[in-house]
């Protein structure tokens, strides 16, 4: 069984979605429990994975490889390193919470909702283990189908516009990556990522391939200026959709950068690192200001996601600059590690924020900030969690939000104090938009009579929020296990940065 642990992780939720679908609209409770069972099982298997993975050894482990398409030499190749393991465990963890979160909220065709969620989960896990570029691409694109359905059926009033925009926008980005992969295949006659990493390429080729990859991943992350699909998709998606979108799906973009841009086109990556750094800073500062003026809670958190993901891309590419220009591996390691921790942390924090908004939306059916105010008076427990996650969102020390951002800022300082200065703006802007949001929603007098009728969170909601809170605090207070898990993999990535391919 341990030889096929990764396959099991991918296929368990995908195949598990079938009985959930078969449970049908007539037996919604059966569908709910079945999907919960599958999600919990998947989580347990992912914990096995965590135990099986040897963090000290590093490298790609638990590899599985079967010849998939003989005449093209395409393999069904799976393997994980520390980064993948962390992302997979986060995915399965969030998987349980979105299913619990949707429990009685989704009344319309719950079986289809749950099945789509499970399929999405399986495909996302697949993306995080694929070692064959074509397999990665197929899974990377296949994610769009369940997400398209999730937003389209259970979304808000403008869901059709949002979901079409989401699908076409992301599809647009990734097809260029496909062309780049086919070009690489012409040269290497394989889609194996390790072989592609060793393939010598001229700078001109690297530059073209770099931009082809960049557009695919930048849209997924999303980076400025191709982030415009995100606020629409987030706002219109059902709560669970938003949670998965923010917590896991955005990471697919940065994860792709680590797996494709870094090893395959390192020279172009180093050459254009300034561009990514600049775009990341714009995301952090400018999008932070954009978030400040939002009147829709979900939109505000969506924009804050863009800003936070800016830290991930900043951390990855500041490492490039540090290694190539200053040869300072230690600081590069710090930046890269910060980016990785930020990835995981943002998964939990944004997932929690969207869950909180979902909890309020279920009661009042509005996402406008102005419709709320004084919520703490009727929902004190909810207020407690909301404030906690808001603090994590603005990077308060002791929460997970702090660790990653701090490390990235430190690394940027070593590269260029100006970069660090702009990045550190987030501490002010992030606090501004988050705290102001809390102030307008939670504190103050109750002005809207409907707010007075809001009920305190029930057991199910408490469970979801407690789980998120535990993760956020654990990572904030004691990030060492996570750092250790990813350490050798991150050092390996940093070593790769120094390799010239020309």
């Amino acid at each position: 069984m341990f030889n096929h642990l990764l396959s099991l992780l991918i296929w368990l939720p995908v195949v598990g979605a079938i009985p959930v679908l078969l449970a049908g609209a007539a037996r919604p409770n059966l569908a709910r429990w079945l999907s919960m069972l599958v999600a919990v099982l998947t989580f347990v298997v992912s914990l096995f994975l965590l135990l099986q993975y040897n963090a000290d050894a590093g490298g790609m482990q638990l590899a599985e490889s079967y010849l998939w398409i003989a005449s093209w030499g395409v393999h069904y190749g799976l393997a994980v390193d520390g980064i993948s393991v962390a992302l997979i465990v986060m995915t399965t963890f969030v998987g349980i919470l979105v299913i619990a979160g949707a429990w009685e909220v989704i009344q319309d065709k719950p079986h289809q909702y749950m099945a789509a969620m499970l399929m999405l989960e399986g495909l996302l896990i697949g993306v995080f283990c694929a070692t064959d570029a074509l397999l990665f691409y197929a899974l990377f694109e296949a994610i769009l189908i369940p997400m398209f359905i999730l937003i389209g059926i259970w979304g808000g009033p403008r869901r059709v516009y949002a979901t079409l925009k989401f699908f076409i926008y992301t599809f647009f980005g990734s097809v260029f990556m496909l062309i780049a992969l086919l070009y690489l295949y012409q040269k290497a006659h394989t889609f194996d990522l390790a072989t592609l990493a060793a393939l010598p390429l001229t700078f001109k080729e690297q530059a073209w391939i770099f931009f082809a990859f960049l557009i695919a991943f930048a849209i997924k992350v999303p980076m400025v200026p191709v982030h415009t699909w995100l606020p629409d998709a987030h706002v219109e998606a059902p709560t669970g959709g938003s949670v998965v979108l923010a917590a896991v799906m955005l990471k697919v973009g940065t994860y792709g950068m680590l797996r494709f841009i870094l090893p395959i086109v390192p020279d172009a990556g180093a050459h254009f690192a300034w561009l990514i750094i600049a775009l990341s800073l714009i995301a952090i500062v400018y999008i932070g200001y954009v978030a400040l003026v939002q009147e829709d809670m979900k939109k505000l958190v969506a924009y804050s996601s863009v800003a936070h993901m800016g830290f991930v891309t900043l951390g990855i590419f500041i490492a490039f600059a540090l290694v190539r220009e200053q040869g300072s591996t230690d600081m590069a390691l710090l930046g890269m590690q910060g980016a990785m921790i930020q990835m995981i942390s943002h998964g939990f924090v944004s997932g929690a924020m969207f869950t909180c908004i979902g909890v309020m939306y279920d009661r009042l059916h509005t996402r406008q900030i102005k419709d709320y105010g004084g919520v703490i008076n009727v929902m004190p427990w909810f207020g407690f969690f909301y404030v906690l996650f808001a603090m994590a969102n603005c990077g308060l020390p002791g929460t997970s939000g702090f660790v990653g951002e701090f490390m990235v800022i430190l690394a940027s300082f070593a590269a260029n104090p100006w970069i660090a200065l702009f990045a550190a703006f987030t501490l002010i802007i992030g606090a501004a938009y988050t705290l102001w949001l809390v102030k307008r929603v939670l504190w103050g007098e109750i002005t809207n009579p409907h707010v007075a009728e809001m009920k305190e969170i029930n057991g199910r909601e408490t469970f979801v929020l407690v789980a998120f809170a535990a993760a956020v605090l654990a990572l904030g207070i004691w990030p060492q296990p996570l750092v250790h898990l990813m350490d050798s993999s991150v050092s390996q990535l940093v070593r790769q940065l120094a390799i010239h391919k020309i």
Binding site: Q112, E141, I153, T163, V175, F176
Partner: protein, 484 residues
Amino acid sequence: MPTINDILILLPEFYLVAAACLLLLLDAFMKSEQRPLLHWISIAVLLVAIYLVIAGQPEQAITAFGGMFVRDDVAEILKVFALGTTAMVFVYARPYLIDRKLLGGEFYTLMIFAVIGIMLLVSAGNLVTVYLGLELLSLSSYALVALNRDAKLPPEAAIKYFVLGALASGMLLYGMSMVYGASGMGGTPSLDLAQLHNVMSYTTAPTLLLFGLIFMIVGIGFKLGAAPFHMWIPDVYQGAPTPVTTFIASGSKLAAFGMAYRLLDAGMGDLSHHWQLMLAVLAVASLAIGNLVAIVQTNLKRMLAYSTISHMGYLLLGLSAAGPEGYAAAMFYAICYALMGVAAFGVMLALTRAGFECEEIADLKGLNQKSPWMAFLMLLAMFSLAGVPPLFGFWAKVLVLEAAIHANMLWLAIVGIVFAIIGLYYYLYVVKVMYFDKPAEDSALQVQRDKPLRVVLSLNALSLLVLGMYWGPLLGWCRRAFGL
């Protein structure tokens, strides 16, 4: 003088001719209440034909009647899929034909004759055989389009198809005569494709040969339905009875690929650097016109018609790579398109019943509410047509794009992929209508109860998913057929 061996090589074809004639007789002498039996007999006839094709598969390419007829792996694969998709069309067509009182010998006999045309066409080793096969297929198709002669649209579509088809056949024939003439200037005139292969090296009239090539490409373009020879497609698709449209979208496309391959590679292979660019132009035009015009269609059949045009653009991408890699990719694409087309039209047939023709996109409103399974099958077909992994259609696109890049036509691959993004919209729109819209108050949607139709259609659509995850063997066959 034909020997018994020649006849044995053509056994599946002769068998089908005999079976079709027998069906006609049966139809004439059967009592009307026994007529439905014809349906099952016809399906059995096709299945036996598949068996004959597979069982008699030669080790390597063999020819019959002095090179007129070629039996090789390319022909075998195309025949099996043409016969198979036609059998599927028969299964899907039954409720439709019963509801419209069209179930009778004509439909089945004409379809089988059309299939014989396909089989001759893909096995052609001579210009005469090409023409023979093409005309047999076309004439049967014209008649099939007009099958429902009391309705308004079908006769109109048939006339359009016939006039344009006759014109295209004329062009093809004209081109063939020029090629024949060119082959006689400086050598012995020949209609044999294998001998025409190196006409360019000795002919004293290369211009004549090139003109011949151009006219032949017009004929091929028409049969494929590639822009700018696509005018007939939307009207015929919309006007023809849906089962016939299904056939034109599946078996017919396999035949068109076979014809293009025979004429261009076997016959005009030496001129590939000339026709490569011509096909590339046709491909770009088809991709552009097909994808852009499909966006504004409200009629599902018309939308799928324009989508066919764009898909033929992708097929041409592979053909224009002009090498075994490209042909293998194009054949893979043709097979894939046939399966997707049958599935998409199959769902429409499953939703059509007496007095209700499911053909507007709006007719599918809220299908997920009424029949989640049918909606799911259509979803598979749509995502496959759009080329979204992990569905079959995606891999077919990847293969033709790879072939184009392999042939140093990166620009063509980029054009192809850009139009894939544009094309995405109208397929997603169908999914949107089925899944995100509520059914109309007076929605007439109802799924046919016909068991065979449901089972075969489900298998058909699910095969898009299964083949999308495991397409290696099929690609292997396609590549082996072209000696890779």
